[in-house]
């Protein structure tokens, strides 16, 4: 069985899922480590009992393959009792609450890709083609679905402000090379998204989307991972928004949604790998509806900022 999961929650949580992961982590390559960080990230092979088989934190295929061989050897030497978890995982699941449980099936869920655009500095390594992704969720209630008359072709209407504001704060982030923290409401200089009605067929409205997103913050923080002290910094993201959406008013949901955000990034944060490339430089985001794969139901990184219960 293969699983990918976020390590911080697992290594700090107190539910049965986190506790079992911690049992694995504390037999692994970063067991007990506190400096330069306490992260337990990496690749682990383990028995369902929590007995670790082998682990490594590497993107070298040969090292991972060696780790897997070591793990299989240990697995083959274990008894059934050593391998298996006492109790039923299905029953234990009732004690585990995850953000993924809040997936808004009847709302709007977006997958947002980010990438540097031509024109910027492109080092001759993985950073030249780097990209990242994040997710954005909106509950049906947050979307304030209309009950009024249909708009007319050519009419321009604002989309509810939570869409551009949430995207600006939590998704339109310079995460191309690595994680970066979210913006907050104080950092928003502009966040708007409107749709111009291109066509109406029955209850289905096709919209041309446009708008802008501008966030900016200043302060003192590090920009070289663990290798520098906090110093005065400024970060800015200024984007033009453009796209297309198809909204089915009868069904109360978007059938299609594509949004581009293209513009300029400036600045660096502690772990986003921009210390040597702070810009200003071009960056682009592409947001579209999530699909049905389990991998597209991962909770948004900063869902704690949503205020959801």
């Amino acid at each position: 069985m293969v699983s990918a999961d976020e390590v911080h929650r697992l290594q700090t949580g107190s539910d049965p899922e986190s506790k079992l992961a911690q049992k694995v982590f504390e037999q692994g390559h970063y067991a007990g480590r506190t400096q330069p960080s306490s992260t337990r990230q990496g690749i682990y092979a383990a028995a369902p009992s929590g007995e670790m088989l082998a682990s490594v934190n590497s993107n070298d295929a040969n090292r991972v393959a060696a780790m897997l061989r070591q793990a299989l050897n240990k697995w083959n030497g274990m008894t059934e009792a050593q391998r298996m978890l006492p109790g039923s995982p299905v029953e234990i699941k009732k004690q585990i609450r995850r953000a993924e449980d809040m997936f808004p099936k009847d709302g709007l869920t977006l997958r947002v890709f980010s990438r540097d655009l031509p024109g910027g500095q492109r080092p001759p390594d993985w950073r030249a083609d780097a990209w990242n992704q994040s997710f954005a969720w909106f509950r049906r209630g947050e979307l304030q679905l209309p009950t009024g008359p249909m708009p007319k072709v050519g009419q321009t209407v604002p989309l509810v402000s939570i869409i551009p504001r949430r995207l600006a704060k939590l998704n339109f982030l310079d995460n191309v090379r690595g994680q970066t923290g979210p913006f907050d409401d104080r950092n928003i200089r502009a966040a708007s998204l409107q749709g111009t009605v291109e066509s109406i067929k029955g209850s289905v409205i096709t919209l041309k989307l446009s708008g802008e997103s501008h966030t900016e913050r200043t302060g003192q923080w590090s920009i070289r991972g663990f290798n520098d002290a906090p110093s005065p910094q400024r970060q800015e993201m200024k984007l033009a928004l453009s796209g297309r959406a198809v909204f089915d008013q009868a069904a109360g949901k978007f059938a299609e949604f594509e949004l581009l955000a293209v513009g300029t990034r400036t600045g660096a944060t502690q772990f986003n790998g921009r210390h040597d490339d702070p810009g200003p430089a071009r960056i682009g985001f592409y947001a579209t509806l999530t699909g049905d794969q389990p991998s597209e139901r991962v909770a948004p990184d900063y869902i704690s900022a949503y205020g959801w219960n």
Partner: protein, 74 residues
């Protein structure tokens, strides 16, 4: 969602960039099938899902754990 009375759109200048070519930028930004090929492995997006299935099938678990979900932003 659509309606002039709905939502609080901030007062702001129109976007500085004219219509973006959706197809052109989508091709530039969206990862290629090759770049997304890691998704074909069939990762369970939560550790407990793998524990549950491993227990039911008698198999070991491979866990890829990162700061930031590996299937999202890491």
């Amino acid at each position: 969602m659509l309606g002039m009375s709905m939502g609080m759109v901030l007062a702001c200048a129109p976007a500085a960039v004219a219509d973006l070519d959706l197809a052109e930028y989508r091709a530039m930004i969206r990862p290629s099938d090759e770049e997304l090929s890691f998704e074909s492995i069939g990762w369970k997006p939560t550790f407990w899902e793998a524990v549950t299935e491993a227990q039911a099938t008698g198999k070991p678990i491979l866990l890829w754990a990162m700061n930031g979900h590996p299937l999202a932003c890491t």
